[in-house]
Amino acid sequence: MSTIDAPPPPLTTPAAGEPVQPYDPKLTADEAPSRPFAVLGEFDNVDDVMAATHAAYAKGYRKMDVHTPFPIHGIDEALGIKPTILPWLVLSAGVTGMITGLLLTSYTMGIIQGPLPFVPVALEPYEYLISGKPYWSLAAYIPVIFELTIMFSAYTAVFAMFLLNKLPMLYNPLFRSDLMKRVTDDRFVLAIEATDRNFDEQDTEKFLKEQGALQTDLVTY
């Protein structure tokens, strides 16, 4: 079912008086006594899943997602995904990297003569005379400043992307559905989450079937 073979017990607390049913990993997602997470509908081509997504958006669903083996063009508009903040984070990291490089080279290579008050000896700068070149040789510092700019921005592009995507997240209720197995291969899954205000187990499932979903599945926590 999932990569991590022992999912935690369902989070639902049974109503007062109801006997507590122990977690049974043999139960399928449909039988397990827990609250729903999402309804999934499987499609086998881009056109169908796009049409279904547009229809779902038109019907008022907002908390939904399309799981695909590769990025589909136009799905952002269909799902109403807002442009990510990532480029601004990368820009600010790049500017930070550039300033870091500028300060590092200028400070350590000696625009100031130590010792300085409150600066530990290990951090003291000194005027570093090499072949009679000026102490502040900006041209010679550019490679280091440039590399630090790239390093800060590239690290931010990667790590901020994963964090904004809330990854790594090794346990995800979606992995309990067999439909997710082929999402990394050749299938497209439209998932409508239970937290959506228009969500209803039966209605949403019926809606997905009407949109031509080959299979549907109710995923629970």
């Binding site: 590769f70 063009h73 090499i130 630090l148 992995f175 999402v183």
Partner: protein, 489 residues
């Protein structure tokens, strides 16, 4: 991941060839009537099956060579750099030659993954993973050589600016320190670029792996990727930004490597012309290595429909083009030496033509400027044997180029009394050979355990990946409601 959509020629007659020159339609990049599932199966079967005989036949000698490499490094640490042929004035010798050689090879991978991505060259998708892996393993080999050359390698961390009890800072005006920053940034950013692109494909392997250990390993490595469109949205943005950052990075790295030479005062080195010359040479040598690896792998891994003849042909064309730039650079160097009127500069270039290293020089001219001209002929660009001959010639020639640049200038400087010839020792030679063992060990492990082709990226350049595309390779019946809003391309 972004790709240009319209105009794929899906009415192709022969499903196994796409090397036509018809400019009115875009040639398909995946052949053999493969659909999405076909691509997934073809690529993941390599990673999930028990390795083939050829894999073991190459892996065992590679590991042996890598073992020799590390043993010799142990010998070096125990004895000192005197076991090398380095002398005064040839202080640099093999370590810098091998360093420049391996870093240069890495550049083709970044060119394919970043620069061709920005240029929207969709054919890059089949070979970029592969070429990026080559980049990383080449940079690993490259990084070792200056590391073991510093004399006391256990103090190599002194290269980094950190507060210390000696109150010492590194010398930021030195090109060798620029190298530390350039190569460490390049290595780590290339790794992140490679790994980020690989996460969706690791998820594919996670979902197809039957073996429990593999499932857990791929599960952790793929970070819980679900293929969510919201994730893809940020992923594509991050990928584009990384490509845009890697493009100036890769050009800067070999420029900085060339500054190691150009900032020095030695005749034959002290020229403003080195950065573009070195970058072209790096891409030239890198594409030769891509071809050396890709041509056999197409056959051995069964990827002939994914890494098609057209991909190989395109690489040959890039190799030929950069080769012409390099040839021009050789000629220009001689012209500059003559036109400069500088006595020592002229002497160095006359030494190259007829001095003690002239054999190396003429061999490099044959390897880099003559043999690759085969690639002008289309028939030769489609024949794996002629491609391999040309690519191997360039591999050898690019190493010789660095040898000639380093040794001819160092051994004959301004004062004849300080001249000395360089003679490589057996340790020099086997350390270089051993570095190939390390490279191929890493590369073969990559071929076995990781997604060798960017599965998700290849799918984006297939016609069926686009809403309202001309046809669908898979046999579904129900089409979407045609009145539904169309996706913006």
């Amino acid at each position: 991941m972004a790709s240009i959509t319209p105009g794929y020629d899906v009415t192709l007659q022969d499903p196994h060839r796409n090397t036509g020159d018809d400019a009115t339609s875009r040639a398909p990049l995946v052949l053999g009537h493969l659909d999405f599932k076909g691509v997934t199966d073809r690529v993941s079967s390599v990673a999930l099956a028990w390795p083939a005989v050829w894999w073991w036949a190459m892996f065992v000698p590679s590991v042996a060579l890598a073992g020799l490499f590390f043993s010799l490094i142990g010998y070096l640490f125990a004895t000192g750099v005197g076991i090398w042929g380095n002398n005064s004035p040839n202080m640099w010798g093999f370590p810098i030659i091998n360093f420049v050689f391996w870093v240069g090879i890495g550049h083709a991978g970044t060119l394919i993954s970043a620069i061709l991505f920005l240029f929207r060259q969709n054919w890059r998708t089949s070979i970029n993973r592969f070429a990026e892996a080559m980049t990383i393993f080449a940079v690993v080999c490259a990084g070792i050589f200056p590391g073991i050359h510093v004399g006391r390698p256990w103090l190599a961390y002194w290269l980094f600016p950190y507060p210390n009890q000696m109150a010492m800072w590194p010398q930021f005006r030195s090109p060798l320190l620029w190298d530390v920053f350039a190569v460490s940034t390049y290595a780590s950013v290339s790794f992140l670029f490679w790994y980020t692109g690989m996460v969706p494909d690791l998820a594919t392997l996670r979902d197809r792996c039957k073996n429990r250990i593999g499932k857990i390993a791929y599960g952790i490595a793929s970070f819980g990727w679900t293929g969510s469109s919201r994730h893809w949205h940020r992923f594509e943005k991050a990928y584009l930004l990384l490509a845009a950052l890697c493009t100036p990075l890769v050009l800067s790295v070999h420029s900085v490597v060339s500054f190691d030479f150009a900032v020095a005062q030695l005749p034959g080195w002290h020229t403003t012309f080195f950065p573009p010359y070195f970058v072209a040479g790096a891409i030239y040598g890198g594409f030769a290595m891509v071809l050396t690896l890709a041509v056999p792998c197409r056959y051995l891994l069964g990827f002939r429909d994914i890494i098609t003849e057209r991909h190989i042909e395109n690489c040959c064309k890039v190799m030929l083009g950069t080769g012409m730039i390099v040839t021009y650079a050789y000629a220009a160097e001689f012209f500059f030496a003559w036109y400069s009127g500088h006595h020592f500069e002229r002497a160095i270039f006359l030494f190259r033509l007829g001095g003690p290293e002239s054999l190396g020089f003429w061999a490099l001219v044959v390897c880099n400027c003559v043999i690759p001209q085969l690639m002008w002929v289309k028939k030769f660009r489609l024949n794996p044997w002629t491609i391999l001959i040309a690519a191997m010639a360039v591999n050898i020639g690019m190493w010789l180029e660095r040898y000639v640049i380093v040794i001819s200038s160092l051994s004959n400087d301004f004062v004849p009394s300080s001249w000395d010839q360089f003679r490589a020792t057996w340790v020099d030679i086997w350390l270089f050979v051993g570095s190939f063992g390390l490279f191929f060990t890493n590369f073969l492990l990559f071929l076995k355990f990781l997604p060798t082709v960017a599965i998700s990226e290849v799918k984006t350049v297939m016609p069926a990946a686009h809403a309202h595309g001309p046809s669908h390779a898979d046999d579904h019946e129900a089409h979407g409601d045609e009145s539904a809003p169309k996706g913006a391309h």
